[in-house]
Amino acid sequence: MKKKQIIKVTLNVSNPIDAVIMDYLQDKKNAAGHLVKLSFERLIAGGGSQPAAPVTAAMPQAEQKSYGPTIRAGEASEVKGKVAKLRSTY
């Protein structure tokens, strides 16, 4: 059985790129499932280092949604072709 790995990361949430990295690490955690446990501490701007709630609790709902097939049955391929052309146009 693989051992659980705990990684502690301190990020400055007022820095945009840190927020992106936090998001990225969260993705990695989701991909790795139970084998990796990530724990985050947020450095609150101006307020010193304070432990924050686990990032999992703050994960936006929308960013977890899956992007499934777009087209209904029936004239699916024709519609799909037209929309694909639209995407390539712009």
Binding site: D23, A62, E63, T89
Partner: protein
């Protein structure tokens, strides 16, 4: 992978934005396209002033209405090179900031007036990339012609799915009545008809400038046709204005000037679309469409003002962005 779509419609009059909040709910917002210089000035402890301050190319700007109160210089533009100005970048950056645009995989959608589209698309995409390069690990930028955004708002829902398949093969005229200009395109089977692209110098500001002159002459006010446009626009939409503490009904003056503007726009539209019989639909969008709703009823029997017309373009950018995100 976390992916986020944000849409910014930086118009001459207002900046409109659309995005999903942290709960996945689609939100929109709007602020005036006013940019002023930032001067720290005197601050008083305990008094917090509401200002949106943005730093672009090492210079700080105040964006939105706060600039009128706190800036000594207001930057404005309505020409083709407006998109390369620091003021435009400040407006766009403020829009991105308000969207909360940080994401691992970020898709930014925006638009350009139809007449500048082909010449400036790559330039605007580059400007947006420069502004947003620290916001994501993977950045996609798409710029589409502004009125096509309104068309996309009818074609796609906010999940990016096709919601009206009749538009895929239809011929649709779009008239986008903006602040300084009005744009017109025809979409035929999802393609822009090159011969039916138009942009003319009649927008909401045309009527506002005339209304300002009327006010100054009738009420002895000293409104400035450059600086006070947004203030007068609010009054026009409300149908009243406060002068010396007294609220005055302005519908008589306003309706006369809006009639004139609507007549000019109808003439321009009919020059391109003639009797409009070959169009399946004519949709009117932009902030001016809602304002001129009553006056534009006689344009064509099948013309209609799109719901929430001021946000139609940005809604289309967003919905199309969601479609791109689904298929990426």
């Amino acid at each position: 992978m976390s992916r986020k779509v944000v849409a910014v419609d930086a118009g001459y009059g207002d900046v409109k934005i659309k995005f999903r909040d942290k709960n996945g709910v689609v939100q929109d917002d709007i602020f005036n396209s006013i940019v002023g210089n930032y001067d720290p000035g005197i601050s008083v402890d305990g008094l917090k002033s509401e200002m949106d301050i943005v730093e672009v190319d090492g210079e700080k700007f105040i964006v939105g209405r706060g600039a009128l109160k706190h800036s000594s210089r207001i930057f404005n533009g309505r020409d083709k090179d407006w998109i390369t100005s620091a003021a435009y970048k400040a407006l766009f950056a403020a829009g991105l900031y308000k969207c909360g645009c940080n994401a691992v995989d970020l898709i930014i959608m925006s638009g350009l007036p139809v007449t500048f589209y082909r010449s400036d698309k790559a330039r605007l995409e580059g400007i947006i990339r420069d502004l947003a390069h620290t916001c994501s690990l993977k950045l996609t930028v798409k710029v589409i012609p502004q009125p096509v955004g309104a068309f996309f708002s009818l074609l796609f829902d906010e999940e990016g799915q096709v919601k009206d398949e009749s538009l895929l093969s239809g011929r649709v005229g779009v008239l986008d009545i903006g602040f300084f200009t009005s744009d017109l395109v025809t979409m035929d089977e999802l393609e822009i008809v090159d011969k039916q692209i138009g942009s003319f110098e009649n927008g909401v500001s045309t009527a506002l400038e005339a209304i300002i002159k009327d006010f100054n002459s009738e009420f002895g006010t000293r409104y400035d046709s450059h600086k006070d446009l947004h203030k007068i626009e609010s009054a026009v939409r409300a149908g009243k204005i406060k002068i010396s503490g007294e609220e005055i009904d302005i519908t008589r003056i306003v309706n006369g000037r809006l009639d004139e503007l609507a007549d000019e726009i109808k003439t321009n539209a009919k020059t391109t679309w003639k009797d409009g019989l070959d169009l399946d639909q004519v949709i009117l969008c932009g902030g001016g469409a809602a304002l001129l709703n009553g006056q534009l009823k006689s344009l064509y029997s099948h013309a209609r003002v799109i719901e929430n017309s001021q946000f139609a373009n940005v809604t289309g950018y967003f919905n199309f962005g969601e479609n791109i995100a689904r298929e990426a």
